[in-house]
């Protein structure tokens, strides 16, 4: 059978959406880190530097959440002494940073990516496996994936 592509204008149809997934980067171990390279499907829509900056900021925020330092050790020791019941009452540092990440992604979506028809999904909604990027297309559907 023939496989053709038609421009959206010909079809007179509303914009479709496609999704691309930015996978985790395990080069430094099991810490939460995503690839920062701009996917080919987004090359025409987003500035490479802007994208890399967004991804790098996300990576930095996750690194902050998982940082092994005085604060995390103190939290761990306090939890151990209270037989881990303290986590039932208090919010952990990780959870606080996750909220910060949600706000950052929302902010980036509103200011930079939504006007270009792109939507970043918070990785926590995908189990920190991928950064799901939804592309809303209004032009030839032959572009992208």
């Amino acid at each position: 059978m023939d496989k053709k592509t038609h421009s959206l204008q010909e079809l007179q149809t509303p914009p479709a959406s496609s999704k691309i997934f930015i996978q985790r980067d395990y080069g430094s171990g099991t810490i939460c880190r995503f690839h920062t390279k701009l996917p080919s499907e987004l090359e025409s829509r987003v500035d490479k530097q802007q994208f890399e900056e967004t991804m790098q900021t996300l990576n930095n925020l996750y690194a902050e959440a998982e940082k092994l330092g005085g604060r995390s050790y103190l939290e761990g020791c306090l939890a151990c002494l209270t037989a881990y019941t303290v986590f039932l009452c208090l919010e952990t540092h990780y959870e606080k940073v996750l909220k910060k990440i949600s706000r950052y992604i929302k902010d980036q979506n509103e200011k930079i990516y939504a006007p270009r028809g792109i939507l970043f999904t918070d990785p926590i909604e995908r189990g920190l496996r991928v950064v799901e990027v939804t592309i809303f297309e209004d032009r030839s559907i032959g572009s992208g994936r």
């Binding site: 053709k4 998982e66 006007p115």
Partner: protein, 481 residues
Amino acid sequence: MKSCEYQQIDPRALSVSPQSAQSHPETKAQRPRRKWEVFPGKNRFFCDGRIILSSHSGVLPLTLGLIVVTCGLFFAFDCPFLVEHLTVFIPVIGGVLCMFVILSLLRTSFTDPGILPRATPDEATDIEKQIDTSGSSSYRPPPRTKEILINQQVVKLKYCFTCKMFRPPRTSHCSLCDNCVERFDHHCPWVGNCVGKRNYRFFYSFIISLSFLTSFIFGCVITHLTLRSQSGKSLIQAIQESPASVVELVICFFSVWSILGLSGFHTYLVASNLTTNEDIKGSWSSKRSAEDSGNPYTYSSIIKNCCATLCGPMPPSLIDRRGLCLLKRRPLLHTLQRSSCLRSQPRMTQTWRRTVRTSLCPAQPEGAPCWFMCTQSTKDVLERMLYSSDFHTVCPMGPSKTTPLGLEVPGSMGPPRAPAICPRHAIPESAGNSCTTCGRSRKDSLHSINPAFRLASPSPSLTRANMALSDTQEDGFIPFS
């Protein structure tokens, strides 16, 4: 570019469509379900998702019973004598240890060990496309692995057929719980749960404190019996006066060796940043390849390894047990009522903004109505695209190209010439004819009905639309079939 007419769809009107109400019985609102109620793994949940337990709870009741019974006998029969003859701190220390043990045990058993949620259908399709470049599909593809470099060392990631994703490093699939667990250590029948990234520290504190408790009780009972037999009585007489002590002695004697051994083993694992799973498999053993035999996750310092494993930041649960699922409905029929023979096209930028703006509502577990609306507006856009009267202009693929890429999709291998029903008007289409009401061709019906179509790679427009629609399945929507 043609100028497009913007037509706004009022979401409120979608829910009161009489035709859809009579055409399908499930359109009325249902109680929003929490995600734990639809969790695919073999777990049990209590307290509305707050407590998670494996379905194979093993001998957890026995473990609890042994600890409670032993401690109870200790406080009842040994402590009065020891308080009188030694010090009052004995029951205090015993009490603190007992509390610590029970709390650690409960925390280990009732905590999510680090379960990874399964891949969404979109993700699974994306991964399938990357793997299966040849296009041919077999019933079960060979085991898939991906090699990556971690700290200059080659590590193989395996593909999990159940969870439809490449397992992150140190993650393993527990067959008892049917979940992929991060930093999987082992499935412990004594605690009735997997031991993984999130509850390893609880497990370790449980076995360490239990070692102390067992040793303490063992020592106290020996002291008790010795003191009794010293005051002019024989050992037999002392035992007769305090028979419960014998019971405690037997329990502690047989458990102290195994628990001390286990504690020592896990102390070694913590110090070298290994898991039981890795140690048993010999993943980083020096007997393997001489070049890449080191553990890539170790910090090369015992103290740092211990701190990282036991005192590191507490990662969150990834499965969002108490989040709300979207209500199950048939969105296509609702939308079709509004979009029948819709030929106009919303203005692109406005549609984007409306769709994207409403999609920006934070996906909070309690904010289900907001998220419902967000997804609904996005889906409306996509469904209108699929079922508009101009759909048939997109060239359909033949049956051979709708073969799924090795994924298990029910009904995916349905006959290509299955009788089709026009989804818009529920009118059966005779072979070769199109629906008389909307002119929709039979081939279009085949594409919409055949769920395999979502996973195969026909024309790009249909791929995206169907892939986006497959979200509806993930989110609790029943796709039209």
